[in-house]
Structure formats: C-alpha cells, structure tokens
Symmetry: D2
C-alpha cells in the first residue's frame, strides 16, 4: 500500500503516518519528491488495510498495491488455468462449455423438450430456473421444489449436468439434491451469507457479476466461496448497467480476457439477459466465444412466445443445433477444442 | 401498455398482436399513423405484461404506461405523505429525522459515548451495525449478537430508537428484539426473500437504494415489504455508481424530490458512504436537507481514527452538535420543522 | 408521439393538450383507460416536437414513437445496406475493412515502415493522426501539416487510402488534400459545426461514438453529415465510459448488431483505445469481427515502446500479418468475405 | 509516478524500467516488498509521462502521483480562492452569483422581459443563447448575430453582465462584442481549439463539465484556457450521464466541494438542464447553494410554454424573485454573503 501525502503535509503528519504503519508490525518506506512524499507500507495487507489511513491529516490518498483477492488470483496457480470437471464434462483451459436450457422451468413437457433439443444440438450442460428473482412481487416466482423435481427428471433422461439458481440459503438442501452447479444470480453477487453457504457445501458455483460490480468485486465474491475450501467456481459476465437505453444491459466482453488474466477460474458469458432480445443473442454469443470465453450460458425454449418469463430473449429449440455450430466455429478462432464432438 | 409496431409490420402481424391482447381479456386500441401503427392494450396490467410482446414479429418496442408499483405510489394516498411514528419520533411530512451513530458497534464504551453524544446533539434515532456486509471475506464482519446487546443498552440509556442492519433472514429474530427500524443494505436491495421476511415481521424498514438501482427498482423493493401488509417503509439514497473516480459513489440528490413525487414514503439520505470522506459529509448533508429530504442517516464515532470500519468517513462526536444545527438550518429552507427542539 | 397524462389529470388539461396538438396542424387521438388517458399526436414530427409538451399541466411524460433520424435509418434504403467504395476498397455489406496504422504520425521512417507492414499484412486502409486531441495542453499535439505531407507519401508508396482525424474546421482544406476518409473523434462527435463542414465537403466520414453518447445520438451526428448531401458515412464504436476501472473504456459490442439494425451505414470498431493495452487488442478485435462489424480500425507501430503517444496499446508491425489472419477468420464466422485476398 | 511491477516480473524487467526512467533525466526509487516491487519515478512529470510505461514487460500498472493540472490547482494560490470581478459583480470566495435568463434568445420582447424580471429579482448576470448546440440538425439552431444584438440591448437596459455560449471559434469576434462571460458548453468541453482561442482572447470563461467527464478532465479543460494567460475561468457542474432514466442527467453535487478542494476557481451549478423539469429546479438549486456552490446559472422565461427550446425546464419570470430569495437563504447556510442586496 502506498500512502500519497498532500503537497502541504507537515513533517509531523508524515511522521504520524509512519508511526501508525509501524504500530501494526509493518515497515514504512518513505520517498520524498520535490512536490510530495509517498510512504510505502510493507507487511500484512489486512493489518495495514485496517488502519484506514484515508482521510488522516495530511494524507491525499491511499493506493492499494496488492490485489485484495488471493485464492482467485492467477498467482496462486502460477499461471495454470483451472479446469473444472462436472458430471464428466470439462470446462476451462481448452474446454468450452455450452450451457443451455429454458429461463424458467414451466412444465414437464416444456423442460423435457428443451433438454432433449439442447442435448442433441451439442450442449454441455442444462440450465433451468426453479427459483426466479423478480423485480416485481406480483410476477411469477418459479415452480420451486416442483421445478427441481422436473430438472432431476431431465437430467436422468439426457445425462446433462444441471445448472440452477439458488436465492435463499434456506433452500440449499433441496437444490443440492439435483444441482451439479449452483448459480448465484447477479442480484445476489454480494449476498455474503449465501456465498459462504455455497462455499461450505462444496457444490460447483457459477457466480454472475452484479449489474454494477467491478471485476475486483466479482473476484471477491468468488473469494467468499473459495475461502470455505470450495475450489469449483466459475465467473459469469452477464451485462452491466450503463447510460445506453437501446438495450437492457451492456455486455462487457473486455471482462473476458481481463478476468482470465487476473484469475485462474473459468469465465462464462450469458448473452441472453443483456440484450433481452433473441436476434442479438447469436452475434453476442459469437463475440463472446471469439473473445476467449470458456463457455456460454444461453436460454432456449421450445415456444418462446408462450414462455412465462423472458420469452423475447430465448432462442428456439429448432434453431439451437445450427447456433451451437456457429458458436463452436467462433470458439475455435480463440483456440478452443470442439465441444459438440465432446458432447456427442 | 402501448405496443409500437415496426414501420414495415404487416397487417397480419398487427392482427396477431391484437388477438394476443384480447386473449387475456384486455382491450386492444389501434391507432395508425402514416409511418407506424401503435396498439394500446387496456386491461389488467399483470395479464398484459405476461404476454411479453417484446420481440414478437413486427413489434418494434413495448412502452409501459402504468407504473409497476402500486402500494408505494403517491396515488394510493391521494397525494398525502406518509408520516411514520417510531418510538415516539415522527418522520415524513414536515418532520425531519437525524439518524446518527457509529458505522459498526465496536465496544460498549465506543457505542455508549457515541449514543450519548448524538442524543445530546439533537439526533432523532441511533444507528449502529452489528452485522456488516464486507466486500472482503477477510474483513471484520461485525460483533453479531453481542453488538445487538450493546445497542439495547444504548437505547435504554438514551431513549433513542435503534436502526440496525439485517443481512440474513435467519438473524431476524434476535435483530427484532432490539431494532426499532431494520435497515436493508444497498447490496441486499434486491434480496427478495429478505424483503418479504421483513415485510411479514411488521418492523419499520429503511431500504437503501442499490449501487446501480433505478428509482423504480427501489420502489419495487419497497413494494415487496408493503405487499406483506407492513406500511412502515423509508427509502434511502446513498450514492450510485458512475464513471467518476474522485469519490466512491455519486450521491444522487435529484432522487430526493423525484422519489417524493412518485411515492408517499419518507425519503432519507446517507451522506457518509458516498464520499467516504469526513470533510464531504457536511456539505452533502446540507445539500440533502435543502433538497427536501425527510431525514439523514449519518455516521458518528468518538475516535474515527481508531474505528474498525469506515473510520475516514465518520464525523467526530465532538463536532456533532454544531453539525446538527447546520443541518436543521438547511432543512428549514426546505420547509421542515425544527427537529432538535423535538428531540430535546 | 404519445402523451401520457397523469392519473389525476383533469378533463380541462386533457383538452388543452389536444388543442395544442391541433394548433400545429396535427391530429390528436385520445385513448382513455381506467387509470390514465393517453393522447397520440399524429402529424409532422418536428412541429409536434416543438410543442415541448413535457411538463405541461397534467402531463406525466411524452413518449416519442418515431426515430429522430431519417437519412441514417434503415428504412430509407428499404433494408439494403450501404457499401462505400473508397479508393477502390469496399466497406459494408459482405465487405470487411481492416484499417491500420500508427496512432500518431511521428516521423517519415515510423510512418512508412508501418504503412508498408500493414499493406503487406492485408490492411484495407492506412490510419495515422496529424492532429491529436489531447486531454492535457502540455502533451504532444501532433505534427500538423508536416504529418499530412507524410501521409500523402505513404499513400503514394502503398496505394492505401488514408484515414486521418480533423479537429478544427479551419484545417479542413489541407486535410482534404490527403484524406480519403476524415475521422471525427469521440470528443468532437457533437461538434456540430465540424460535422456540417465535413458534410458539405463530400469527403467520406468516419464518426466515432462519444464516450457517453447513445446510439441515437451517434446516428444524429451522422444525420448532420448526411443532411448536407454527403452519403459516405461510417459509424465507429470505440468504448464507452462506465464504472469499471480495470480498463479505460468499456467496448460496447452490442452496439454493432444494433446499429446495423437501426442504420444502413457501415459499422466499424476501434479495439485499441478502449482497453489501452496491447494484449487486449486481439481478443477484442476477434469479438468485434464475430459480432458482425463491417471493419476494424486498429493502431500498429514499428516500435511501440518508443511511440510518442498511446504506445502501450499499439500492435507491433511484426505481429500484424498473423493478427490480420485471425481477424479474417472471425469475420468469416459472421459471413464476411476474405479481405486479405481483396487487398492483395 | 509509481510503477507497480507484476509479482512475477523478472529482475531484468525491473532493471529495464529503471533505465528508461533514468534515460529522461528522472530518478528511479526502488522499493521491493515480499510480493511485488514498486518503482517511484521522481523528476519532470511530462518527461516521465511520455515514457508511457503502461504495458511494458513486467509492469502491472502505473499510478500517477501528481495531479496533471497546475494552473487550476489550489496549490498555485496556496489555498486562496479566486474571486472574479465581471462587470462590477464578484464571484468566488464569499460572493455568490445568480446567473439567470432564457435558454435561447427568441425575440426582443421575450429577452427584455426576462432580463428586467431577473434584474429586479436579484440576478447577478444575464444568460441567453444566440448559438444553440442541438442534437438534431432539424431543430432550431439559435438566432445567431441577431441574438447577440438583442443581448447587447438587454445589457444596456439592465446593466447586467452577459453570459452567452460560443460553439465555433469562427464566431469569436462577434460574440466578444457583447459577452462578459463566454460559455463553453458540455459538448464542447474537450474542443481544444475552442478552449485555446477563448484562452487567448482573455474573456472570462464558464466551462461546463462534459456529460461523462471526470473532474480531472474538467480541470484539464480549464488548464487549456489558463495556459494562454487567461485567469478568469469558472467551472460548471450541469449533470452527468448515469443509468438512471427517471431524469435526463444526474446532477453531481459532490463535485461542488471536491472541485473547491482541488481548484481555486469558482464553481457554478446549472440546475436546469439536468432534470429538464421546472419543478425540480428549485430543490436542486437549494441543494447546490447549500453544498457551497459559488453560483447558479438558471433558465428563466416569461412564457415557458411558448419557448422554442427547453420550455419545460425554464422557471417563470413571475416566480423568479421568490426563488432568488430561497436560493439566498440556502447559500447563507453555506456561509455566502447576500447577493440580492449586492445586486440592488
């Protein structure tokens, strides 16, 4: 941590900062230029952070040098990338995963039709929501445990591992009975109680970036899970909030290469929720794959116009196989192995 | 709801939209200009919303006409403002509330010193966190139940109603034993399970706006509480995320008059977390009061340089009385009654 | 235009809005639901817009129905895409253009080396700045007319059409002597005097999206050029400002398919300025091409570590040919023809 | 400037950075912690900045220590605030200025009525646009020189100094004949040619913050004017672009105290353009004054419903005197002297 002093800081103020740094067992390293003095604090980063030197007399600002996350950082693996193995499917490194299925589990027929279609089209895993976070308390909130039961049936029939969202720690037990991957939604990315519970459970987690979360905060959310000893974490970019009103969210694909530089964890992209429109899902999927994403989680529905939730953004099952082939071609440009062959 | 058709929509596509609107028992009202056709859908708004006509063939976009919140809207009270009464203190209408206290409960001595100081300075309620949401899993997470016990003691000694944060629905019971107002933090604004539980409990709630939540989403979060029959809700602006890096968050004071126009609920401002710096707390507090806020929730600490958390932004207890007088003067410009006299 | 009245609007207020609409020769079309009245105004859009009915008594809000741009819209070409032909090179439709060269013209040697390298690597046009917009008045501002002279020489030697930035209408004449395409920078996107001058000159224009401009505003900037009878306009996405601090700007690739839906004009992406880092240029270029961009404008320098300006983000000339081949592969996924063959 | 090396940077890479720093005559100061090495570069800041060490092998990031602006910084005045004197009116320090008048000069009658009303109500200066930046090329672009002539007449009749916008350097001469203060609009904040011309002219300048400009960029824009020897510069906050759609722009009042900390220049707030609605102008004006602004620039019109431009946001002349008194009361809370008395 570097403490930049104000240009008019007194010698006494500099001295006081040095003393406080040394009081927690760290070393203070002073460097005075013509205009300002900078103090480097070397030692245990949590101890130094707790000093909260921002705003102390004479201090202009505090510049963190070390990243606040540890277990999520690339350094801990010495540059080697994590490859997760989930229900026999690999994700990370050269392995690309296409996770597909309906936004919400609506009925047995809807889910099984979608599951078989994405399985035949080359999907790696099946997604489907039993618990749905809805902005409005008057909107459909998901089928709950009945939805979980249907997901179990679809998994049995297709062999696809299941990804489903957990919103409330009190639902963890039933969700764990069917989920191969537990999804933490964007609105819950900083629900620390939930993250810790998922960490303790050991189940693979897919954490969506919050609507206005920085990459560092996303990695800190992952850190909450990793800290409990759970090493199976995927990061998911799903669009951030900006001033642009032509689409719901702005998909931030720069996050893909940057997250892969900062962290060893696989990076997934959700191309469905950001635009909220079916016709934009394919170009954004191809872009995500070409940018080097380790996977895509996409919404697919047998009859989107009848969907209870997010119909306008769901791909049609009839179009899925052709879509998967184009995604595979784009992923190949970024150096990924064929995933359709792997699924077959 | 208005459905704007594309300029090249066919007669058949227009007809199909009309039919779908009528299929849920609503009326469709067609209006064709030279360039485009617009279809008004009149009837039950949830039924129409579930059609999700966005993205249907020929549809350019769907424009909602009615607000999605009902119980939070000004119309439900015919323009009359809600005045909450909490532990004998009023907030809303002409009643301004100054809620003050330390960020985190750290020790008996720290809390009681702060509580007595803000009480003597004219505060309306006492704030203090027992459970702290922290970006880092390695940071101090609050004293928990011990913190709640100390808050109960401070309340008994000063008579000040207590505002404290709830992060996990599983902690609701112990929190309710001491809290006069339960705070929902910005990161939990869309934790729907938590909102519903607080709604069912009937305890007054102070809901902080999420870092990138629209006013409409904040009102929908309030709606989750109100829907359970709990009418005691306060809205709190605490800074939003923008591109500006000179401060942590950008306090959005336009939200104050606009929320008061859209909703009958009292509107509070937190001037401490947005800037993250003590010297900015006073100008922002005066601005918030002059903009017409119904109250301020501010952090005050006996020795901010020793604070475990957010020290740099906490006011000193020694400065509190003078600060409260300036806030009162600014609130008076906006037509509020004296609150220091009311507290005394 | 739809005028949504407040739920408590009086009959008189509704009547007054209707009268004002009719006063400009437009028709008013009234539609009353149970809760609100909506008035459709049908007629000349500029006349109606000038009424500025927002904020009139009883008016809740005004919803524009028609797009404010005309010449830039897809409708004017009945869905056919513009293909520009510049110095014998095509851009738009199936034609992908790779525009490459140094950020700034620094010296004869630097420019000619770069120009030959990108020409041999398959570039479609040469870029290079003679006038540089710099945040600091103390920074290098470009070689000016000497830079233009060098660009002319590079064009003569390689045959590549030249793209260069114009910042001041008073420099138009010398710039036109060498430029095949005039670039309007992001900071000048709403410099209307400049846009109109470029429109009148008839030179092809490449307009960069402002750091916080909406797509609609970008299209309105294009409209300023098109309105003067200049039909050769390219739109360029170059990153927008968001809260994320891990990179300079956030490249908004959703803009690519959406601009292509709204407008017939070719859409280019600048993958260099947004990340500001060389290692991110390739993944973002591949993503842009896969998303369907009609071209890329990228910075290439013989020795980036010696560059006067933006060195850290410029590709090395030595890496350019391999980079161009990967971009071509990604563009092929989106259906574009080979551009390297076309260049040869 | 501090150069933070990557944790796996080699000794050779560290050495190379040190050498490059020394190559421009600066000193390199090396500080190695357990995890990373940080190199401080001490010397001429422009020389060091031109090295552009970001992205060099082994470099993680570069942290600027010194502010990039000099003449605009508080240090250059040793903490003393600039007080400008314009046509006998002071602004800055304890002097608050209320600048009022119509958005656009529309007619002799409209302008003179507004000018007399704001003069009698206590305004310090008169505002009015002769050249208007409009998003649409089809919208009214201002009366031009005829508008300037009318402003001259209003100035003669009332004695109020005139503030008017300059959009094109080629209009500088006629504008200087009437303007006491030249306004640089938000869209032109980074039009460097325009800023330099205004700097050279010596006329007092009011620079509006760009829609997504940081405070540092606003200060750099001021630096372009100051560098030419023109010391009369005012900074103006007018709302930034955020995700919130309930209002046009989000007024950033934290900018007021922060700009006053960073710079000696007076800080003005425009409460009209951000909300775009008349009923929000007063609460935002009171908030701005209470936050410590040195002045307000507000739109006032005799009959806003007939205004050619921005009618919905203009105050009525009939309401101005009462409004000015409330603003004065709010400014007094922040320690400002009476300005209405000064105007009389």
């Amino acid at each position: 941590m570097m403490i930049v002093m104000k240009s008019d800081a007194t010698e006494e103020q500099v001295h006081s900062v040095v003393e406080r740094i040394e009081s927690v067992g760290a070393r203070a390293h002073r460097s005075s230029g013509e205009e300002v003095t900078v103090i480097g604090a070397i030692g245990d980063r949590e101890h130094i952070a707790r000093l909260e030197l921002e705003g102390s007399p004479g201090v202009d600002r505090v510049v963190p040098i070390l990243k606040p996350y540890k277990l999520a950082s690339t350094q801990i693996r010495h540059g080697e990338r994590s490859v997760l193995e989930i229900g026999g499917r690999k994700i990370g490194g050269e392995h690309f995963a296409l996770i597909a299925g309906p936004c919400t589990v609506e009925s047995r027929d809807q889910l099984l039709t979608a599951a078989h279609a994405v399985n035949q089209g080359g999907a790696t895993m099946l997604r489907g929501g039993a618990y749905k976070p809805r902005t409005s308390p008057y909107a459909f909130q998901g089928l709950g445990t009945e939805g979980l039961r249907l997901l179990a049936e679809a998994k049995e029939q297709t062999g696809l591992p299941v990804v489903t969202e957990l919103m409330d720690a009190r639902d963890l037990e039933p969700v764990l009975e069917v989920a191969d991957v537990v999804q933490i939604g964007a609105r819950n990315m900083q629900n620390y109680a939930l993250l810790s519970e998922v960490g303790r459970s050991g189940v693979p987690a897919l954490i969506k970036r919050g609507l206005s979360s920085t990459l560092e905060e996303l990695l800190m959310a992952a850190e909450y899970v990793l800290k409990e000893g759970n090493e199976s974490v995927m990061l998911c970019e799903r669009g951030i909030r900006t001033f642009e009103t032509a689409y719901r969210f702005t998909l931030d694909l720069t996050a893909v290469p940057v997250l892969k530089e900062l962290s060893h964890l696989p990076v997934i992209v959700d191309p469905s929720h950001a635009p909220g429109r079916r016709d934009l899902v394919e170009p954004l999927s191809l872009a995500a794959a070409a940018a080097g994403a380790d996977g895509i989680i996409v919404e697919v529905h047998p009859q989107p116009e009848d969907a209870i939730c997010d119909g306008p953004q769901q791909l049609r099952t009839a179009d899925f196989a052709r879509y998967a082939q184009k995604v595979e071609a784009a992923a190949a440009v970024a150096g990924k192995a064929s995933f359709i062959a792997a699924a077959a």
